[in-house]
């Protein structure tokens, strides 16, 4: 999880909505200052211990909840695709988290003596009531054989989605109304849905979720889902281009203000849909933030035409300044580091690195490029095609032999999808390997990134972000010879010949990660349009951006 404070115990995780509120409110309810908060904390933990004893008569529904949560959690990883944690780590965390959450809630009456019902206890009672009702409903649903775990699951999903938003929000029970999508998405989760099934289901539902969404956005969603538009810059520009069109068609309904309604009725569904098709990249997220900021600043007395024109201009300038021109600036700065005779090593493909290399070549520098390829996306081929078209001498090598390539390389250029605030680089899986290897060989690693991709988030571990693609892509020995040891789903079992496993999913679960985190210590220099910076300057740039925005 990104940046979750190491709060005491699994139960007091800030991510858990219900629990978070529960845990924080005693601390945050100011009034009495330290002693009273300490007392409430104690009472909390006392309650926890007591109710852990009281938990024996806990209903079967409750324990079922607990049992299924790990399963939910594990497959929620797949279903959510958002900022989720590593399955194995999270399972245990979640299991721990679930139990303390359930237990204090299960307090039947008042808990301790009941003299002074503090806010926390009242809440706990209400929570207990809700949980009891929910459990009863669940039990009923279980008999009906329905998806009773929906109610159990949203808390789990909520936990994960809000892992990065430590603010514990209000009602967990309002989730069924608001978060219909996660619920629908994980309806099948308790059955132990495999990743394959999830992708198959997503493919079907991708259209089903698309009511009232503009045609252009639908097309875009499909392009994202099927990986037709790939790459931080491309995805961002594609999204902005479509949003520009969609905003152009917008008309403020009567009695509503453009600045509020546009975002709510038009942007929010589009963005949710795009996110569902493929989770937003940092570049896209930052662009949306920028756009929303400008939407909010539209004065309420401005008429539609001007406002829409203004917004479209905003989008255009963003694209021009932050993406296109910034790329050119990065290319210029990077060029100063390329000398004749260089052997430049690049990993997979990056539109920015392409520009860097093309500019250098056009300027007449003599260098050659080694393209290191990573599976399964084999984007290096696109890079190779581009280089050949440019006329730059290049070689192509698989990442497994990267050590060999390092012997020849003099510089390494890596393209980033995002830069975290601690200076780590978020990019395609494999970049971190290259960077670490290069550093071991004392080869300078230059990461190129436009500043609009800087984010104040922090990601500690590559598997923290669950942005992944179809597991099946990892193994592709051809249409007919999938080895049976790698069978991942019953359909595969049936379709391949001579499979003895008899229709059960017996192979390993494949996880096809798309992104990884390159530590800042492996990166020599960060090239941005503001110049060449050390990786540690990322927060400085971010702060400067904020200041600039505040000035305007």
């Amino acid at each position: 999880m990104s940046a979750s404070p190491a709060g005491g115990g699994g139960g007091k995780q800030t991510g858990s909505k219900g629990k978070g509120k529960h845990a924080k409110s005693p601390r945050m309810s100011s009034g009495g200052g330290a002693p009273s908060t300490v007392k409430k904390d104690e009472s909390n933990s006392v309650a926890a211990k007591e109710s852990s004893l009281n938990n024996q008569p806990a209903t079967s529904a409750n324990s079922q909840q607990n049992l299924q949560h790990p399963a939910c959690a594990a497959s929620c990883e797949g279903a959510q695709g958002g900022s989720n944690t590593d399955p194995s780590k999270d399972q245990s965390k979640q299991a721990k988290a679930k139990k303390p959450k359930a237990e204090p809630v299960k307090k039947p009456e008042g808990g301790e003596g009941g003299e002074q019902k503090s806010k926390a206890q009242l809440k706990a009672e209400r929570r207990a009531l809700q949980e009891a009702q929910r459990a009863a409903k669940e039990a009923k649903k279980k008999e009906a054989g329905g998806g009773g775990n929906e109610t159990a699951a949203p808390p789990a999903v909520k936990k994960e989605t809000t892992a990065e938003k430590p603010k514990a929000k209000a009602q967990p029970t309002s989730q069924p109304a608001k978060k219909v999508k996660p619920k629908e998405m994980i309806k099948d989760a308790p059955k132990g849905e495999t990743e394959e099934e999830m992708w198959a289901r997503k493919e079907k539902e991708i259209l089903a979720k698309s009511l009232k969404i503009d045609n252009n956005i639908l097309n875009l969603g499909f392009q994202y889902f099927y990986h037709r538009v790939v790459g931080a810059n491309a995805r961002c520009i594609a999204m902005l281009a479509e949003l520009r069109e969609v905003i152009g068609k917008y008309k403020t309904p009567p009695e509503k203000e453009l600045c509020r309604d546009l975002e709510k009725s038009l942007l929010a569904p589009c963005i949710t849909y795009i996110n569902y098709c493929r989770p937003l990249s940092t570049s896209m997220g930052n662009a949306i933030k920028y756009l929303k900021y400008h939407i909010n600043r539209i004065p309420s007395d401005m008429d539609d035409r001007t406002a829409i024109g203004q917004l479209q201009d905003v989008i255009d300038t963003f694209i021009q300044e932050n993406i296109l021109k910034a790329s050119e600036a990065v290319a210029l700065y990077a060029n100063s580091k390329i000398v004749d005779g260089d052997v430049i090593l690049v990993y997979a493909a990056s539109s920015l690195i392409c520009q860097v290399l093309k500019t250098a070549h056009v300027k007449g520098k003599k260098f050659r490029v080694i393209v290191v390829e990573g599976r399964p996306r084999t984007e290096g081929k696109s890079m190779l095609r581009f280089l050949v078209r440019c006329g730059i001498p290049c070689s192509y090598i698989y990442i497994g032999s990267a050590t060999h390539a390092m012997g020849e390389a003099t510089k390494v250029f890596l393209g980033a999808a995002a830069m975290f605030s601690i200076g780590d680089m978020h990019s395609r899986t494999g970049n971190s390997m290259i960077a670490a290897l290069a550093q071991a060989y004392n080869i300078p690693v230059l990461a190129c990134c436009e500043t609009y991709k800087f984010t104040d988030k922090v990601q500690l571990h590559l598997a923290d972000s669950n942005l992944h693609a179809r597991g099946r892509d990892l193994i592709d020995p051809g249409p007919h010879n999938r080895p049976s040891v790698l069978l991942t789903s019953p359909e595969d079992a049936k379709s391949s010949e001579g499979s003895g496993s008899g229709g059960t999913a017996s192979g390993p679960n494949l996880l096809n990660l798309m992104y990884d985190v390159t530590k800042s210590r492996h990166i020599t220099m960060l090239v941005t349009e503001l110049g060449m910076l050390p990786c540690t300057s990322v927060p400085v740039v971010l702060r400067r951006q904020e200041d600039l925005v505040a000035e305007v």
Binding site: R228, V230, N233, I237, A238, A349, S351, S382, R385
Partner: protein, 424 residues
Amino acid sequence: MTNPGDSTAVIMAAGMGSRMTDLNTECPKALLPVGRYPMIYYPIRTLEKSGFAEIIIITRQSCQAQFASALTPGMVPVKAKLEFLGISDQEDAGTADSLRLIADKVKTNALVVSCDLITDGDLLDLMSVHRKNDSSLTVMLSQLPTAITADTVVPGFKAKQKNNLGEKISIGFEYSNVEHVVYWKAQVDMEDELVAFSKKFLNRFPCARIQSSWTDCHVYLIRDFIIKYLKDKGELSSLQGELVPLVVKKQMSTFHPAKLQEEAGMDSPNGDLKLDKKKDLVDYAGETCNKLSHTIKSLSLTSPNFGSNEDAAQKDLIRCYAYRQTSGFCVRTNTIAAYAEASKQMPRLTSQFFLPKQTAFQNVPENTIIKPKSQVGADSMLGENVEIGEKVSIKKSVLGKFCRVGDGVKITNSVIMDDVSISQ
């Protein structure tokens, strides 16, 4: 339900049924009953299922009234709003001419369906293929029709009719992406035994698979710029026969954005491109591109245009894809054999076509009068108000409305129209 996304749905019902003339003397082909409903109801139903709320139906002007009366919601459970447009009877109009009628109504795509297609395939899958590949023309192909009508005995013919060779189309698919259509040639258009491929084609698609077992279901999802092109160029008259092969061929064209401004002379590389501002299909495609779309394509890592210049020639502007229906039911009832077979199979398929809650659909409606000792098989369907005499056995047949069947009659494997009396 679902979002068809701004596409205009059109049903081509102006055909004269040239391959089943015996049946078409009084009733237009599209209104021939299949099962209990007129033939045209089935494409309407398929479109409704995919979320279209408005459908345009193009018919001959003389039959327009007949259609309107046959398709009133009272008679036939139609939920969508139907708009009837007529083309005049005099001209020998083809499907492309019909499309020109509605050219102004097409905003993003036109979904053209023929009236004789009976299928339970999901048109949404067709649209998915269209969307994900950003295709200019998506067709629906199926191998099911030939399987279904393979061994039917055609009524009225002594010998079994050979599978009409004229209908076959050779379709080529790219090996790596089986949905991408790269070659399309009807067998009637092939003059010699030899087929020629240009070097350009082989460079672009080094590995292609050509098959002729696919039936074109005549469901086309056509982009707006192709409709515009159709409107401007009056020569094309048939969609299936002329437009589709043309678009498939034009995939090879390259779009030169800069040259559009020049006065191109005879030495222009694409000879047929510009002479007096004559525009080729590719130029129509280029006009519709968002100004950023080329940038996006050049930045996207998986696109074939990755890293290309702003003003480079674009090769990939026109794309044709195909959606393959591999399971379920699909048949084109444009020949007598197919029509008969579809009618006969209808009783079996009613559950697939009609949701249980829609119409209480019984193969034998309640107001049928069946005298004792008569049997109506489960795979038969009777129309309303049918009277059946004694000792009658009806198997695997479809009877229309108001039929009178005398005593002791055996009906097997037949399609009987409305108002028919069969005596002992």
